[in-house]
Structure formats: C-alpha cells, structure tokens
C-alpha cells in the first residue's frame, strides 16, 4: 500500500504544478496586462500617471522581469495565500474566493451524493429488468439527460416554475435570508433552493453513471457463480446484493475521477444562469471584465479541488479492491 500511496502523492504534486502553469497561462494570455487596465482607470478618475509612475508600478508588479521569474514569483505568493488584487472588486482575490467557496463545496458535494443516490438504484433496477418498460424509460431519460445542455435545463425549469408557481428560482437564498445570520429558517430556505441547481448540475453525470452501473451489473449477472447460486435455490434479492452488486460498484467508485470535473463544469454554467453565490459566477464576471488574476486563481483552486477529490476516490478504490493496489504497484 505504501509505494502505491507514494506514487499517487507524487503524481498529485506534478498535477498541481501543471495546474499552476495553466492558471498562470490564463492570467498571462490576454493581450495587455491588468496594469494597463489599472492605469487607464486611474487616468479616468483624474489621477495623473506619468512614465516614472508606470515604471514604478511595472517594477512593483514584476512586469519588467522575464516570464519564468514572473511565474515563480506568482506561484510563491499564491502558495502563501496572496493571489493578487481583483481590480473589478478592488479586493484581495483570496477573500473573494473564500467567500464563495463554501457554497461551491456544499453544492458540489450534495450533487455528488444526489448522483450516486439516484444512479445506483436506477442502474440496478435497469439491469435486473433488462429490456423491460422501466429499463427503456430510464435509458431514454438518460439519453435526454446527456443531450441537454445544463444551462438550457436550468432556463426551462426556471421558466416552468415562474409560469406554474409564479416564483423566481434564482440564487441559493430568498431575498429575506441573503444577509441574515444562520437560523433554522435560513437553513430551510437554503434547502428549498437547493433541488433545482442539484438536478441541473447532476443530470448529465447521473445519466452517464446509470449506463455504467447497468452495463457492469449486466456483465456480472451473466457469471457462472450467479447461475450456480440461483441453481442452488438462493433467494433472488440476497443473490443480487451478496456479490454482483458489490463487484459492479467498483467502476462507480473510479467514476469519481470524471464525475467531479463534470460537476465543477456544470456548476460554473449553472451558477451563471441561476445566479448562485458560488465561485462560478465571480469567475464568469472576472472573465468578462478581464480581471484575470481572479479568473486564473479560480481555475487553479477548482482544479486543485478536483485533483484532490480524484486522489481520494483512487485511495477508496484501492482500499476496496485489492486487485488495483497490486496491479499498480506491479507496473
């Protein structure tokens, strides 16, 4: 187990390094620097900015040094918690992200639970009743779930709720509770607002996972040991849950590797449409206003979260299935 752990940890460090390169690239790519924007803004407000001042600012923000030096200075500060200033909000980037991250984490983890809670039972039902009406119904729903962009689903649901109940389903809290301190009423309000975003973000992942559960359980149900157990007169429900379902759930655990990025992707788009107070929304407005230090930092943070999540799912899988431990350390 130890060499396996060490290998995974090493990969994670490499991944995080690559991720920081991507984040830095996003910050550096746009033509013109955030300093140009800043100087233009200063001039607009009547502040006189001469060349000496520009040079001083250039030096202050390390814009006069080569790109490699800039990268190491940036990542050094980043790791120390200094992610720069957001010119759009005029606040430290880390504060902005820290404000929004809890909502993102809450939404993503609840969506993850939703995906598993729906797709595993549905997958089992579909597999045990293959080619039945239920199976076809689930398969068809799954196809539509995969083909519908989340933003479209969000829009249609909002529209239906507006038409049907006259309520607007934006945000995570209603107006009364947005700034209120935590109370039972606020929790209840949050619970009322959660289902729509969860369904919107989770649909695609659920649809894909149902297919995986169904396929792997079908493979398992054809095995000899199942036939033997049935021939011996084992009770059907016991027969199903004793081994086949447990074996079929292995690919489900490893699926976390692509479900997590999917959730964060969906969360970004959905947050914009439903105006959820998560990182997705500030990321979007940062991109529109070329507030790149904020945008790049969000990409790095969200990416790091998915990488860590993937590592955890790998460890769980290795703990559950000894074959994986062995195979990876033998390679």
């Amino acid at each position: 187990m130890l060499p396996f752990l060490a290998r995974r940890a090493l990969y994670m460090v490499l991944f995080l390094f690559a991720l920081s390169l991507v984040g830095f690239l996003i910050i550096e790519l746009p033509p013109g620097t955030y300093l140009d924007v800043h100087i233009a803004r200063l001039r607009n407000t009547g502040v006189r900015v001469d060349q000496a001042e520009v040079d001083r600012l250039m030096h202050l923000y390390n814009l006069d040094s080569p790109i490699v030096v800039r990268y190491f200075k940036w990542i050094g500060k980043f790791l120390g918690g200094d992610m720069g200033i957001s010119f759009q909000h005029n606040r430290a980037v880390i504060d902005l992200i820290a404000e929004r991250l809890p909502a993102t984490l809450l939404l993503s983890s609840v969506t993850m639970l939703f995906i598993y809670a729906v797709s595993i039972p549905v997958g089992i039902v579909s597999a045990t009743r293959q080619y039945s009406l239920t199976d076809y119904l689930f398969t068809l729903t799954g196809f539509f779930g995969l083909a519908t962009p989340n933003f479209l689903l969000a829009l249609v649901l909002m529209w239906l709720f507006l038409k049907g109940f006259g309520v607007s389903l934006t945000g995570l809290f209603s107006a009364d509770y947005v700034a209120a301190p935590w109370s039972l009423g606020r929790v209840w309000d949050l619970l009322k607002h959660l289902p729509i975003p969860i369904v919107v973000i989770g649909t695609a992942g659920t649809a894909e996972l149902i297919r995986i559960v169904r396929a792997s359980l079908l493979d398992e149900l054809r095995r000899q040991y199942v036939v033997t157990a049935r021939a011996k007169g084992m009770q059907e429900s016991r027969l199903l849950f004793k081994y086949p379902v447990r074996v079929a759930l292995n690919p489900v655990i490893s699926s976390a590797a692509w479900i997590l990025p999917g959730i964060f992707s969906g969360e970004t788009v959905t947050a914009i449409v439903l105006s959820l107070p998560t990182t997705g929304q500030i990321f979007f407005s940062a991109l529109l206003t070329q507030d790149m230090s904020l945008a790049g930092s969000v990409v790095v943070i969200i990416g790091a979260l998915t990488v860590v999540g993937t590592l955890i799912s790998d460890l769980v899988l290795a703990g559950v299935d000894p074959r994986i431990r062995m195979e990876r350390s033998n390679r």
Binding site: F15, A18, L146, A147, T268
Partner: protein, 378 residues
C-alpha cells in the same frame, strides 16, 4: 417425402450460400450490414442527414437572410402554419399576419394572429438575393409570402430578424464546429496515442500523465478561461478556428487512449512482426498496418466525441465567450435567452436548444449503432 427432402436440401444450399457470402464479405460490408440492422441508429443518421442538408441549402430554404431586419416586428411570436380558413380547408398552407398593439405593463408590442391578413405560402419565389455556396447570386427561395406580408415560422428576435432563417443558417456553424474539432482531435489523438502505444516506456508514461491531467480538469472553466483570452477584434473566421482548437484540447484524450490500447494489443501480433522483419519502417507499420486494423473503433469514438464539441460550443457561445455575432450559431442564438424574463416573454428563443438536443441525441444514437457494428464478427 421427396418433396420435403428437396426443400430441406434447397434450404441447406441457401444457408450454405448465405454462410459463404458472410465469409467472403469484406470487413466494411459486414459493418454496413450490421449497422443497417440497428433501426434507431439508421433513423438518427437520417435525421442528421436532413439537418446537415438544411444547413447546406440554408440560403435556399430560408425565406430571409441572417441579417434582414423587420424593425416593426421585434419579438414577434411564431406564426402557425394553417390549412383551415373560415371553415374551409385548403391544401396550400397559409399563415395569419400579425396585428400588434402596445402593452402598457410589459412596455413591449403584443402580437396576435389577424384572420383578416391571410398570407398564402408561395413556393419557389424570388426574394432576397444571396450567394449560393459563394458561387453565384440568386434570388430563388423555397417559400415566401406575397409582399408586403412576412412569414416568421419560429418568430423573431429583439431586432425583428426571422429566427427560422437564422436557425437554419446556424446549422452551418454549429454542426461543423464538431466536425472540425473532431478532425483536430483525430490528428492529435492518433499521433500522441500512437507514440504512446507503439513505443511504450517513458514516452508512454509521460503522455498518459498528460492525458490524466487533462481529464481531471473541469473542462468548461478551462475553455471559458482560454476563449476569454481571444482578442475581441479578431475576424470571425479566426475566432471560429481557435474555438474549435480550444474544444479539442480535451477531446483528443479519449481517442489517444483508444489508439494506445489497440496498439499495445496489436504490436505483439504476428503480422506486425512480419512487417518489421520485412524491413518496414515504424511509421509505415503504424499507418499501413496498425491504423487500418482498428479504424472502425476510431470512427466510433470520433462520432461519440462530436456531441461533446457541439455542447461545448453552445455553452461557450451562450455565455458570450465563444463565437460572437454576426456569426450565427445555435449558442449565439441562445445567448439572447440568457435570463428567465426574456424566456418567459419570448419562449420561442429556446428553439435553437431543441436543435441542439436533437442533433446531439442523433450523434449519440449513430455512435451507439456504430459501436455495435464496429466488431461485426461478434
């Protein structure tokens, strides 16, 4: 007795002939035959054919151009095609022109069909000039209504542009983004997957780590970040080109994995050894012997990668970070429907979404059918 004997002999001969046909049929012929048995996939292929044809002949099929403005008909709802007027049935379809009055509460024009303004649909009419495939100028359109009436089958947008025409023209962009993106992914995926699987060792490890890294990233934020970096003053064609490249940054990984897996399997086979002994170079072995032997699997994965690209472009353009007007794609059209108020007042703005869903579904069904057909000997 002798009668049944001859029929069974004939049946046996027929079965033998059938079997012989099966054994002598080429690989691709078997693939085609197996795909043909997949009804849903065939239907989906037909749907895609119709949609692509719609895009190809958009200039002719659409009554108006993409930028033609009917200013007095902003946000006009879709007109229904009708066949019954005043209790009389007629074969020629017609629409009712819009009557409008100003709504004091919404501060917009309200439209309702006016039976007094009956507009018969005319076929093969002359209308606005357009260039057919950029070859020659023509004014011929499939249908239209007599001037000064206007026909809006899918309604109009905020400037009064006909959404039926715009949706048809959008096919060209939306459904080629997927094809072009897949072409990029194909080249990169084959190259890197090929290197990875053929050489193995450290090259393989490195490429596999890069792939794992790209799969672990949330795609939409990455795409958004990259496409936000495209300068606003770029010409539309260049933006389109770069968006497809951005979409393929992740798309090639799946393909590279398939290529690698198959190569690992095939490089140990006798025919590879034979080619090597005969003195064929590595590149020749890969392109002449290995690639063709798993081409069908590649095609399956390519088909299944297209819908992801279409969805990606739609999401980016919807957010205003992908393609931008005056380019017309389904995502660009959906950009108008960004908030629930405009959707509630003008639900027909969501029609491009239906096109997206239908074409993505169709690509998925075709891909599924191809997957079954890819191994016709099963």
């Amino acid at each position: 007795m002798s009668g049944t004997a001859t029929t069974s002999a004939a049946a046996a001969a027929a079965a033998a002939a059938e079997q012989e046909r099966y054994y002598t049929a080429s690989h691709w012929r078997l693939v085609r035959a197996k795909f043909g048995r997949h009804l849903l996939a065939r239907a989906a292929l037909a749907v895609l054919g119709v949609i692509y044809a719609g895009g190809l002949f958009a200039g002719f099929l659409a009554p108006y151009g993409t930028r033609t403005v009917a200013a007095e008909f902003a946000y006009a709802p879709p007109q229904r095609l009708r066949f019954v007027h005043g209790g009389r049935v007629q074969l020629r379809p017609f629409v009712y022109g819009h009557a409008r009055h100003f709504n004091d509460t919404t501060w917009e024009w309200d439209y309702h069909p006016d039976p007094a303004r009956k507009l018969d649909l005319q076929f093969l009419v002359t209308g606005e000039p357009y260039r057919f495939w950029g070859l020659f100028e023509t004014r011929l359109h499939l249908f239209g209504v007599p001037q000064p009436g206007q026909v809006f089958l899918f309604g109009t947008d905020k400037l009064g542009r006909d959404l039926f025409s715009r949706n048809l023209h959008a096919i060209r962009i939306s459904l080629t983004v997927g094809l072009l993106g897949v072409a990029f992914s194909f080249v990169i995926g084959c190259l890197l997957g090929g290197l990875s699987g053929f050489y193995g060792g450290p090259i393989d490890t490195m490429i596999q780590r890069v792939i794992e890294f790209l799969i672990a990233l949330p795609t939409i934020p990455l795409w958004m970040g990259l496409s936000a970096a495209l300068p606003l003053d770029w010409p539309a064609l260049r933006v389109y080109f770069f968006i497809t490249i951005i979409l393929s940054t992740v798309g090639w990984t799946r393909l590279a994995r398939v290529v690698r897996g198959k190569l690992l399997e095939l490089r140990e086979q006798d025919f590879t050894m034979a080619a090597r002994v005969a003195g064929a170079r590595d590149l020749a072995i890969i392109t002449r012997h290995l690639l063709p032997s798993f081409m069908s699997y590649l095609i399956v994965d390519l088909t299944l990668a297209i819908p992801y690209m279409i969805l990606g472009e739609t999401a980016l353009s919807f957010l205003g970070l992908g393609l931008r007007p005056p380019v017309v794609s389904w995502g660009v059209l959906l950009h108008e429907a960004q908030n629930v108020q405009s959707v509630a007042l003008h639900p027909w703005l969501l029609i491009p979404g239906l096109f997206v869903i239908v074409s993505v579904l169709a690509f998925n069904f075709v891909g599924d059918g191809l997957r079954d057909a890819a191994d016709p000997h099963k």
